[in-house]
Structures are given as C-alpha cells and as structure tokens.
C-alpha cells in the first residue's frame, strides 16, 4: 500500500507538469484578448499600451517558465511567510491577475470560504440523502419507492441548475420572501442571528446543487447495493440468524460503500471547483464564478492558475480514491 502510494505520488509529478504545459499551451492558443472588456471608447493605441503593461509581449516559453517559478517556488514561500511571519518571498513577483492587478492566490483564498460553505454543504447534504434512498431502493428493488426514486432522481439529473435555481428563487424569494436571492459573502458568522442568516442564504443554492448530486449518488448506491445483495455471503449472514437490519445495514452496506466512497472522493475536486452555474445564479461568487469571470475577461494568469489547481486536486483525489479503495477493501492490495 505504501509503496503503491509513493509510486503514484512520484508518477503524478510528471503528469502534473505535463498537464500544466498542456493547459498553458491551450490557453496560449486561445485568441482572447484581455482588453476585450475595456470600453470601445478607449482607443486601440491605449489598449496596446495596456497590453504591454501586462507583459503580453514576451515569448510564450519565457512566460511559462516564469509562471512555473512563480507558482511552485514563490507562492509556497508566500504561504510560509504568511504562517510563520518570515520573509522569504520579499520582493519576488507573484502570479498577478490581469484583471484585478492583484496576486491570484490571494483572490483564490478569498473565494474559498463561500465555495466550501455552499458546495461543500450541498455535497454533504446530498450524501446524507442519497445513501438511504439508494439503500432502500435497492433493498426493495422495483417497489413503488424504487420506481419513484428512479423517476425523481432522473428528473433531478435532467433539470439544469440555471432553471431550477431561478425556479426556487421565484418561489422562495419572490413569492414567499423566505430566503434572500443574493448570497452575501461579507456575512460573518459570529452570532446566532448571523448563523440563521447564513443558513437562510445557503438553503437555496444548497438545495439546487444537492438535487443534482443526490440524483447521481443514489443511482450509484443503488447499483452497488444490488450487486452485493445477491452475493453468497449475504446468505451466510442470514443463515447465522442475523436480523434483516444487520444483514443489510452491516454486511451488505459495508461492501456496497466501497465503490461509492471512491465515487464520492472523486467528486470532491468538484467542490473546490465550485458549481459554476449555481454560483452564478445565486451570486455566491466562489471559485466557479471566479473561473468563468476570468475566462470571460481573458485573465490568463488567473485561468491558468485555477485550472492547474483543479488539475492538482483531481490528480490528488484520484490517488486518494485509489488508496481509499485499497484501505476499505481488504482484498485489494496494490503491491
């Protein structure tokens, strides 16, 4: 297990480097212009000047190298400085966003809390709902409950959030006035009232997101349970005289969770990635919104950094999922 993990960790370094190069080249090829959002009234010569000020004139390989150094060498130093009060990074140029002219990482860190709050909660809620539904649907396969579950989860799967989001806003904010339609990222949870407020503003985005995640997870759970319910060891467990509850919730569940847990782990990078559309609809302004904004403004350093962070997360959680699989399932040994 350990050597497997180490091996995969070592292998992931060239993979990541390669990915970063691919991302860089892809973005390099994209004919976007960071000046596109500057109003038409600003004459082209001025725009050209502004472009130069962003360092756009340099050749691609130099910029890539600069970015690598900044990302892998300077940013970690900044982090160390931040936590230990040292000053390694003094005077080094960090990755600067073209749009805001401020360090990319600062903004990313600023966006983290709301993304984690909303998308993370949605994920947790979805798991909590999806697992029981999946378990029961499988246990009572083709029952009324199972059919309903399939139907609802398919509908949930097929309703795009740009629609369901607006729908809940119209119902709960406009008609009923229960929840705010716009997420307040400045809210600091320091009192009960603030907490209630936070809950209120989270409910709708969480609902919309959780619907989609639940739909998918419950399907996985159901399939996995079905696979296991027909196994021989279930019969053995029953033959021991165990109650149905123990048979299903202990013996079968534990086995069924193995693939599901890895599916859940693989979904976690998506939490950090934010849910672009939902964030947009509720103005949560998390990471997803940051990315789409940066793309629209052709803020290359921001897009590059964000996509690369996602890539790192995906590679990392892929690894974690594999390791989890090995840990959860005693049959699997990667050596």
């Amino acid at each position: 297990m350990l050597t497997f993990t180490i091996r995969r960790l070592i292998l992931s370094v060239p993979t990541l480097l390669f990915i970063s190069l691919v991302i860089f080249l892809l973005l390099e090829l994209a004919p976007g212009d960071p000046m596109a959002q500057v109003p038409l009234t600003v004459p082209p010569e001025v725009k050209e000047k502004m472009r130069e000020a962003l360092g756009l004139g340099q050749p691609a390989h130099i910029r890539f190298w600069k970015w690598l150094v900044q990302f892998f060498w300077i940013e970690p130093q900044v982090m160390i400085d931040h936590y230990f009060g040292s000053n390694f990074s003094e005077g080094d140029l960090r990755v600067i966003s073209w749009q805001t002219r401020s360090p990319v990482m600062d903004i990313v860190i600023q966006r983290m809390p709301q993304t984690l709050w909303v998308v993370g909660t949605a994920y947790v809620v979805a798991i909590l709902i999806a697992l029981p539904i999946g378990i029961y649907s499988a246990y009572r396969q083709y029952s009324w409950f199972d059919q309903m579950g399939t139907f609802v989860s398919m509908v949930g799967f097929s309703v795009p959030p740009f629609f369901s989001g607006v729908l809940v806003i119209v119902i709960f904010s406009v008609q009923l006035g229960w929840f705010p339609s716009i997420y307040d990222t400045t809210l600091v949870v320091d009192s009960w009232d603030a907490f209630v407020k936070q809950l209120q503003q989270m409910i709708m985005p969480v609902m919309v997101l959780a619907l989609q995640i639940t739909a998918q997870l419950s399907r996985f759970m159901r399939a996995s349970m079905l696979d296991n319910l027909n196994q021989d060891y279930v019969r053995t467990a029953r033959a021991k005289g165990l109650s149905e509850y123990t048979v299903v919730m202990v013996h079968v569940l534990r086995n069924s969770m193995i693939p599901v847990v890895t599916v859940i782990a693989l979904g976690i990078p998506a939490i950090f990635g934010g849910a672009i559309i939902t964030e947009q609809v509720f103005k949560v302004n998390g990471i997803g919104q940051l990315l789409i904004g940066a793309i629209q403004a052709n803020d290359l350093p921001m897009v590059q950094t964000l996509t690369f962070i996602f890539a790192v997360l995906i590679v990392m959680f892929n690894l974690i999922a594999d390791v989890l699989y090995g840990i959860l399932d005693p049959r699997i040994r990667y050596d």
Partner: protein, 303 residues
C-alpha cells in the same frame, strides 16, 4: 434410458437479437422508455413535415401567446411558434446527444479496448485518460470553441460548424469514464478461458477483439451510451448558459429553456415544454438503458 441424457433446452433456437428483444420486451420500463424515445425522435425529426410553421418565422402580432389551436405550445417573444421551435430545438439537442455520445463511445471503447488488450499500451493510455480527466472541462471547451470555430465555420457553414464543434468538444471531454469501464471489463474478459481458447485455435489479435472481446463488453458500452446521450443534452444546455453553445438564434432545448427562464413568472408554460422535453428524453433513455443492459447481459439472458 432417456433419463440419463441431458435435458434438452426447451426453447427453440433463436437468433441472438431475437433473444435480446425477448428479454427487452419483458422489461416494462424499458419498453415504455424505448417507445417514448422513439416517439421523441420521430417527433423532432419527422414532426416538421407535419407541422409546417417555420421555427424562425416571426409573427410579431402573435407574440407571447399561450397555447391555442394555431400555436399548440404558444409563441415566444417574437411570435415564433413554440411547437416548431421545440421540434427544431429537439432535432439539434437530440442530434447533439446522439452524435456526441457516439463519439465519446467510440473514443472510450477504442481506448478502453486497446488499453485493456495490449498490456504495453495500458500504462500510456491510462495516463492519457488521467490527463483528460484532469484537464478542466470548461477552459478546454472554451479554447476549442475559440480555436476551431472559424475554420469549421468556413468549411461547413456556421450551423454545421458549431454543431461539429460542440459535438466534438462534448465527445472529447466525456469519453474517459467509458474507457475506464471498458478497460476493466476487457481485462476481466481477457482472462476468461474462451479468449485463451480462441487464441489456441489461431485467432489473430484483431479478430479476437472484434469477435470475442467487443461483443462481450457491449453491455457496459450500451449503458455508457444511454447515460451519454442524457449528459450530452444537458451539457449542451449548460454550454448555452455560459455563452459557449450554439448561437442564440439557433434553437436547442437547453437554449429554449434558458431563454424562457426570464419569463418564468409571466409565461410559465414556456419553461414547461423544453424542461419537460429534456426530462422525458433523459428519463426514457435511462429506462431504455436499464432494459438494454439486462437484455444484453448474457448472465441475465442466458443460464
């Protein structure tokens, strides 16, 4: 001494596809899903033959109308007939779904089979799969759009061009799960004795793949296929939302739904039709997939 001889299977010999059909028929959900899907396909492709109002025809006096005999689904803000637009949008959405799925399926199965079958290629191909998994979808799509739209527009015209582009980008970014599943199955099937048996009777690698491996991984491929249609339709609608999809004057279900959300309060029926169409398609395809999986799986059909 008839007793000793083995019981002869009672059912008469049939072709494999008849068998599949038999199994499929017995799955009520699948049958209904299949019928619905067929209906949707017929409606969107053949519907325009019977409903001859053009999807782009503007009748400004009749705008924002509710359902009526002249316009069973009502009209939009420019007085275009919603039924005609639903059919036009559907043919795009369904075509996107089908072709993107086919592309993803082809890529996924190809990579999966090759990786599973040839041990040497397994490592590199799986790393490639990882790479694609790790590449964030959105920027990739964006870059593809920006890079290839022009050449494609020039070569195939604006509508064909963007269609090809969207289909390819969805296809290229969604083949990985299929590849993984297929590879896993191929690895397992490769260990089955009939593959060894086929090798021992002199079957070449190519024939081994087409005759023995592929038919046996058909059922996971089929399941990926049905899920793929649904995801592609949904992805296309999300792309429209982010401004990366088809041009706004080109109706698709996703775009119709998106346009209608602004009018959610005034004309709720306008979100109803596209929303319903997407859900029904996804639902029918899902049931269809369930049934196909059962029907294609020899473990369920056979023994």
């Amino acid at each position: 001494m008839t007793e000793l001889s083995n019981p002869v299977p009672s059912n008469p010999p049939r072709s494999q596809w008849l068998d599949v059909w038999d199994q499929f028929k017995s799955h009520r959900g699948a049958l209904m899903g299949g019928a619905l899907f067929l209906f949707i396909i017929l409606a969107v492709y053949l519907g325009p033959m019977f409903w001859d109002i053009e999807a782009t025809r503007i009748d400004i006096r009749a705008r924002n109308q509710g359902p009526s005999w002249a316009h069973p689904f009502g009209t939009d803000q420019l007085g275009r007939d919603m039924l005609a637009r639903m059919m036009a949008g559907g043919s795009t959405s369904v075509s996107v779904g089908l072709t993107a799925m086919l592309l993803a399926l082809f890529l996924g199965s190809f990579v999966g089979v090759i990786a599973g079958f040839f041990k040497k290629l397994d490592g590199p191909l799986m790393r490639l799969t990882d790479l694609f998994l790790a590449l964030p979808l959105l920027p990739l799509l964006l870059v593809m759009m920006l890079l290839f739209r022009e050449p494609l527009n020039a070569a195939f015209g604006p509508e064909q061009g963007i269609f090809i582009l969207i289909v390819t980008s969805i296809g290229v970014t969604s083949w990985m799960p299929t590849a993984r599943i297929v590879r896993g199955d191929v690895l397992a099937i490769k260990e089955r004795e009939f593959v060894l048996a086929a090798r021992s009777i002199g079957t070449s690698d190519g024939k081994l793949i087409t005759r023995h491996i592929l038919p046996n991984v058909l059922s996971p491929i089929m399941v990926s296929a049905t899920l793929g249609i649904a995801t592609a339709i949904i992805t296309e609608s999300s792309l429209s939302f982010l401004g990366l999809g088809f041009p706004p004057d080109f109706p698709t279900w996703g775009r119709l739904l998106f346009d209608a959300t602004d009018y959610l309060q005034q004309y709720p029926e306008r979100v109803f039709w596209p929303g319903m169409a997407i859900s029904l398609t996804v639902l029918s395809v899902n049931y269809l997939g369930d049934g196909l999986r059962d029907a294609l799986d020899p473990r369920i059909r056979g023994r």
